[in-house]
């Protein structure tokens, strides 16, 4: 599959090493949870999940500069060209949110693929009974989308934030994201959870949700593996019998559980 030429329309800085790129619209109809392979000229291609859609359909990606390719992508200025393939993979189960208590748990850059979910659920067409976002970041300076956190709160969502290291006058919560879970956030029999973050954070989050009575089949996680082709041909993203690019990245937890329970699988 050959990338189509794309162009950066807007670039904004989120944190010290995270940038959001809005691309010129090109008819792409990616769903929340899906990802694109973004190509930086002469450097390479990496999977980046969709973190939003502009009013006229331009794809938005939030990129942490973590390696050569993501650094090159994060450095692209408005007007710069890049390659785009996709969208690929499975999306978040938004259709299942209707009438349910939705718990969104995010760690670090893991909030990026969940932002379109929160926008939809707190927007005019949102049909969830209740929406709660539990979000953890390393430090207050690493928090993504602070203005949107306030907006979701203003629209009735519960938004709880915690950080690992409190610096710079932070008077909020400190600790792991599971500490934000408590009774009253959701009714287990009519709940739905969507989780994205480091794998260890997701494992502990799932365990805590299940302790509170949420069934595994109501929990969705987004997994990450090395990807080259994104179409199930290169073999890199295999996790047990699955190809994360094709069968994921969003998995229902009852399917993901045996895959996450084995070290170095």
């Amino acid at each position: 599959m050959v990338p189509r030429p794309g162009r950066v329309r807007r670039r904004s800085r989120e944190t010290a090493n995270v940038w959001t790129l809005e691309l010129e619209p090109d008819g792409d109809g990616a769903e929340p949870g899906q990802f694109h392979m973004l190509y930086a000229m002469g450097v390479g291609e990496v999977p980046i999940s969709v973190s939003g859609t502009s009013r006229d359909g331009g794809m938005v990606h939030t990129i942490r500069d973590a390696g050569a390719v993501s650094r090159a992508l994060a450095g692209l200025r408005p007007g710069a060209g890049l390659g785009v393939r996709g969208p690929f993979g499975t999306g978040w189960p938004l259709a299942e949110a209707e009438g349910r208590d939705v718990v969104v748990m995010a760690g670090g850059i893991g909030l990026a693929p969940l932002r379109p979910v929160l926008r939809r659920l707190t927007g005019r067409g949102g049909k969830a009974r209740r929406v709660a976002l539990l979000y953890g970041a390393r430090s207050p300076a690493d928090l993504l989308y602070p203005r949107e956190l306030d907006r979701w709160r203003a629209r009735g969502a519960i938004v709880e934030v915690t950080v690992d290291h409190a610096v710079g006058g932070w008077d909020g919560k400190v600790g792991v994201v599971t500490a934000l879970l408590g009774p009253g956030l959701f009714e287990p029999s009519r709940s739905l959870a969507m989780i994205c973050g480091p794998e260890v954070m997701m494992r502990f989050s799932v365990a805590a949700l299940m302790d509170l009575g949420m069934p595994a089949a109501s929990i969705y996680v987004s997994l990450e593996r090395n990807m080259k082709c994104a179409v199930g041909h290169c073999g890199h993203c295999q996790l047990g019998g699955t190809f994360v690019c094709r069968d994921g990245p969003v998995f229902r937890y009852d399917r993901a559980a045996p895959l996450l329970g084995v070290r170095e699988l």
Binding site: M41, A66, A80, R225, N226, R263, E264
Partner: protein, 359 residues
């Protein structure tokens, strides 16, 4: 005559030939290039050519190469990008579709092609480069009379007799001092070509002699593997102390994956001019035995040799079924022969099933 007929029909010939102390699978001009009168001795970590006295054309098992090198090529340029008007111009590299005849493909390797077909063209996305190279292929199978010491195709239902996927199947008959080739068509193209050859009709005795060749090969198979038991065990027990033991011997070199006729994994690489005004993206064979293979921003997922060997073997014998409906192993035994330390997938599975431990 057969080879001349194929060449006249416009096919380039790929067949076995002796080179660098091995039998390789490369372009041949004709019968004279075949490794006539040679055989191979194969054992764990050992491959030697030896002369044989009977002048057999196909009196060997196989070399390190299979059809994979010609259909799912080691290096394939995918597309080129160029900076233009501030943006990128991206152009696909046109797939090549050479018309080629493969001479002397064994049943195991033909099964491997069918497996790669399912991987690369059987899903929602068909790989255009593989599909193009695959399209105009003529396969002359050889029913195997000389399995190697590391062969176990019979255990994987992939040989020694070719049962499909060929245009012509050939059995070399040397019983009672004769030297005949029994040719059987497997497709319309094969039937048409056979009709042009000045061959006599095969007798019942010829057919019996041909069946005896593969029956003998079946008995001489160097290795066995209980595929059903291995699959069941690997699906159920991800942790086993045997992984540690094999990891102590495994060099994680990836030889097994390079000689495997079904291993399909690739990575992608970029090259550009110094000004990065033009760039080219290519894919090349990769191996799940490298650390880079599972690299994420935090480091590799499979950082131990134990985990990488487990991934490879579990994929071949168990998870491949979930993905593509068959095993990913055809029992050719190349991974055993070409392993520098002679690690043997049949021995490892037998040891694991014999000494199964649940964590």
């Amino acid at each position: 005559m057969l080879l001349d007929g194929l060449r006249d029909a416009g096919y380039g010939l790929i067949g076995p030939m002796r080179r660098d102390g091995a039998i390789v699978f490369d372009e041949i001009d004709g019968v004279a290039d075949l490794p006539r009168g040679w055989t191979d001795e194969q054992e764990g970590g050992r491959y030697r050519l030896r002369e044989r006295s009977d002048g057999a054309f196909f009196g060997f098992a196989h070399g390190p190469e299979s059809l994979k090198r010609h259909l799912h090529v080691p290096h394939q340029e995918l597309w080129r990008a160029e900076r233009r008007d501030g943006g990128l111009d991206i152009v696909q590299v046109a797939p090549e579709a050479p018309r080629r005849a493969f001479i002397g493909a064994r049943a195991c390797d033909i099964h491997a092609v069918a497996i790669q077909d399912r991987v690369l063209t059987g899903g929602a996305y068909a790989d255009p480069h593989y599909a193009a190279r695959r399209r105009d292929v003529f396969i002359v199978a050889v029913n195997c009379g000389e399995p190697g010491g590391t062969c176990f195709c019979a255990s994987m239902d992939a040989g020694p007799r070719a049962t499909g996927g060929f245009d012509i199947a050939l059995t070399e008959l040397m019983d009672g001092g004769r030297h005949d080739l029994l040719l059987e068509p497997g497709s319309e193209a094969g039937r048409a070509l056979l009709a042009t050859l000045p061959a006599r009709e095969a007798s019942e005795a010829d057919r019996k002699a041909a069946a005896a060749v593969t029956d003998t090969a079946n008995r001489k198979m160097g290795r066995r593997l209980d595929a059903a038991r291995a699959r069941e065990m690997l699906s159920r027990v991800p942790e086993h102390p045997r992984w540690e033991e094999v990891a102590d011997r495994c060099l994680s070199c990836g030889n097994c994956t390079q000689v495997c006729p079904t291993c399909f994994c690739t990575t992608e690489v970029d090259s550009s001019d110094l000004a990065v005004s033009t760039a080219s993206r290519a894919r090349q064979w990769d191996s799940c035995f490298t650390l880079d293979f599972s690299m994420l921003h935090g480091g590799p997922v499979r950082h131990s040799t134990r985990a990488r060997y487990r991934q490879w073997m579990t994929h071949k014998l168990a998870t491949w079924h979930e993905q593509f409906g068959t095993a990913g192993c055809v029992g050719c035994g190349r991974c055993i022969t070409w392993c520098p330390v002679g690690i043997d997938i049949t021995e490892e599975t037998a040891a694991m099933t014999a000494r199964e431990e649940t964590p």
